[in-house]
């Protein structure tokens, strides 16, 4: 049943892709491989040497992006390799379910290792469990003629997956994070999105007097305010150096003037009473639902928001994402953008080549266009939004990313999970006025010092 449905979706979308291809006048000349809606050059059909009959087992985190794009990629794989079977299984508790497979030495061939319960990448790297994807990166791309697979991906979108020169995982989503609002609400009320933090506080006052809570956030999961607000402010007050100092565990990085200023700025939202009362007791989806109901004007989030809340979004809501305004206008455009939803090919998998070959289908232009159209999200693949009609949310995200020149990222999130747990907890305390910005900095700095002193945690450098 599921398979049939996804087939139908696939056919529907492939029609759209074909139209897109026509529009961009890249007419395929030769016959397509199998059922594929696009042309595959002979050298790009099986560059990795996948053996016929070697089946591929994929187990994937099924979260905000759903699974239709995975099924779509699997359908491309099946059409490309009719001799090989591919299974797709969606799970949530990645760590619990897949650890026994790793320990037993028979992990699946390809894994989406994402979600709150993923297996820490630092552990996988330290225990040499991941395949070096160099052959895949150098192989011809599936549907971008004349380019290698690696060349079709956004520059730097895979940098965090490189360890000692080896590409050990691939991010399939390009996430922009920032502050969301309803364009319709703002137009109706005559509000303008501010270009400075002072302007933000002024607007919050206006919004509050209109009887709406200016802000809410994902309450029980305060990390949304970390990647959706605080780290933006840190960059805007201290530049990339402040971010690197935090990543590199530089002594007293969290207590520098710039970082203190950023913490204080975020704290103003709580201090001035701009956060919706009761926010801290809500889950991420509950707070996002409150926001969609118009009970709060702003919410921080990444670009998965639109798809996650699709069923609850009122018609004509027109959600858009904007950068976090900084101390002055010059720093307005920068934002945290990160490649996410990392996929891995375990080194002990039965069919490593099959896992890599699936990744070529996953990060193909055709699947990127499916992702943009059906999931309203961005894959870090060139030409991934060609011929796709974009939603207001995706349009605004692409514009923001372009204006920010790709944005910046802080990398230690994937390195030192204990540090970011401490930041998350302290953020919850700060936004409920239970600690001061100084206490926040003390707590987090102590956690950073502890990570630095722990010899069991491998250290990396944000160069």
């Amino acid at each position: 049943m599921k398979r049939e449905l996804s087939r139908r979706n696939f056919l529907k979308s492939s029609g759209a892709i074909a139209a897109g291809v026509l529009a961009s006048q890249v007419m395929p000349l030769a016959a397509a491989q199998g059922d594929l809606p696009f042309e595959v050059a002979p050298e790009a059909v099986n560059p990795l040497g996948l053996e016929a009959g070697a089946n591929v087992e994929g187990i994937f985190f099924e979260g905000g992006f759903g699974r239709s794009y995975i099924d779509n990629a699997a359908d491309i794989f099946r059409a490309l390799h009719p001799e090989n079977e591919m299974t797709v299984e969606g799970i949530q508790q990645v760590s619990e379910i897949l650890r026994p497979r790793f320990i037993a030495g028979n992990p699946p061939d390809v894994i989406d290792n994402s979600g709150a319960f993923h297996i820490p990448m630092d552990s996988l790297v330290a225990d040499e469990q991941l395949t070096d994807l160099a052959p895949l990166m150098a192989a011809p791309a599936l549907d971008t003629p004349g380019k290698t697979f690696g060349e079709t991906l956004f520059p730097n979108s895979q940098a965090d997956g490189v360890f000692d020169g080896r590409q050990l995982y691939l991010n399939i989503a390009y996430t922009v994070s920032g502050i969301w609002h309803s364009q319709t609400l703002f137009d109706d009320m005559g509000w303008q999105y501010p270009s400075t933090w002072a302007g933000m506080l002024d607007l919050c006052e206006t919004i509050k007097s209109a009887g709406i809570a200016p802000w809410t956030y994902q309450g029980k999961f305060p990390q949304y305010m970390v990647f959706g607000c605080l780290m933006h402010l840190v960059y805007k007050t201290g530049g990339i150096q402040a971010i690197k100092d935090i990543d590199n565990l530089v002594d007293d990085a969290w207590k520098s003037d710039a970082v203190m200023q950023a913490i204080t700025m975020m704290h103003q939202l709580a201090d001035l009473g701009y956060i919706m009362p009761g926010t801290e007791g809500l889950t991420h989806t509950e707070s996002q639902a409150e926001w969609l109901q118009g009970n709060a004007a702003f919410i921080p989030c990444g670009t998965w928001l639109e798809n996650e809340m699709r069923e609850l979004t009122p018609a004509g809501f027109d959600m858009v994402i904007k950068p976090v305004p900084g101390p002055d206008e010059s720093s307005y455009h920068s934002l945290v953008a990160w490649p996410g939803e990392p996929y891995i090919v375990p080194v002990n998998a039965a069919n490593v080549v099959g896992g890599m070959e699936f990744m070529r289908c996953m990060l193909s232009k055709a699947n990127a266009q499916f992702f943009a159209k059906e999931i309203s999200a961005i894959m870090p693949v060139f030409g991934g939004s060609e011929g796709v009609e974009l939603s207001s949310a995706l349009q605004s995200a692409l514009e923001a990313a372009e204006a920010a020149n790709g944005g910046f990222n802080y990398l230690s999130r994937g390195w030192y999970s204990d540090l970011w747990t401490a930041v998350k907890n302290a953020t919850g305390e700060l936004l409920t006025n239970r600690v001061s910005p100084e206490q926040f900095a003390d707590t987090v700095q102590a956690a950073a010092d502890e990570v630095k002193a722990d010899d069991d945690i491998p250290k990396y450098t944000h160069a």
Partner: protein
Amino acid sequence: MTKRKWHIILPFTLPSLLLFLVFLVYPYGQAMYISLTKWRGLTPKPTFVGFANFEKLLGDTLFWNALKHNLIYLVSIPVITIVISLYLAFLLTHGKARFRKFYRIAFFFPQVMSLVAIGVLWSFIYHPTIGVLSSIAGMLGAADPIAWLGNPDLALGAVGAVVVWQAVGFYVVLFMAGMDSIPESYYEAATIDGATRWHLFWQITLPLLWDTIRTALVFLAIGATNMFAITQTMTQGGPNRSTDVLSTYVYERAFLSGKFGYATAVAVAMFLLAFALSILTMRATRRETLEY
């Protein structure tokens, strides 16, 4: 014992003995070993480190924080649950309440639901904007919605209250069964001598029910050292670790930080705690069983 007897004993005990060894003794032994290693839980080869994990544990503030919450639950949940259950059971047994059967089923109902379902249900009851409790607080004049599970001062109590709510029904039924087996004639004789309800409860019901209460105490104490399902569903140990218990801390260290050796050391500490507790409770509450 003759050889012949073994022919009969062995086939009967061997299966259960095997099951016991494979599924209980072996995993426990394995866990003890893993607690002495450094292991990320990805390869079959942990590195032996001796008692390093236990040394680290003594200085780990997060461990003590979680243990503190377990201890708070341990002294509060059994007592509160047993007091409420005894009260309700006594009322239903001696209060000549109408719809006695209905109440018994109604009280027991939470027991048949899974803890996860209860956690989700109560998360809605505690919901700051649409939850029943917040609406009531609003009607009583609270200005701002109360974030029961979002406030570190309230969350621990809020989670504990759910466990009490869930457990009471079971113990009401248990105690009612115990009370029903106490001969009516004792009460009649005492009443003739002028005993009040209060006297009946303290002088007859409680002493004759002591064995049942003792068992209840042990069950509840063991439950209070775990608390995983309900905490994980409702708060994941948050906000800011205010509802962290040993079991959620074990989970976090093992599955989210990838420190299986250390997490297992915490789990072993937890096991010792539960083990010591059940022995202590049984010892402390040991009295001569009254025959009747």
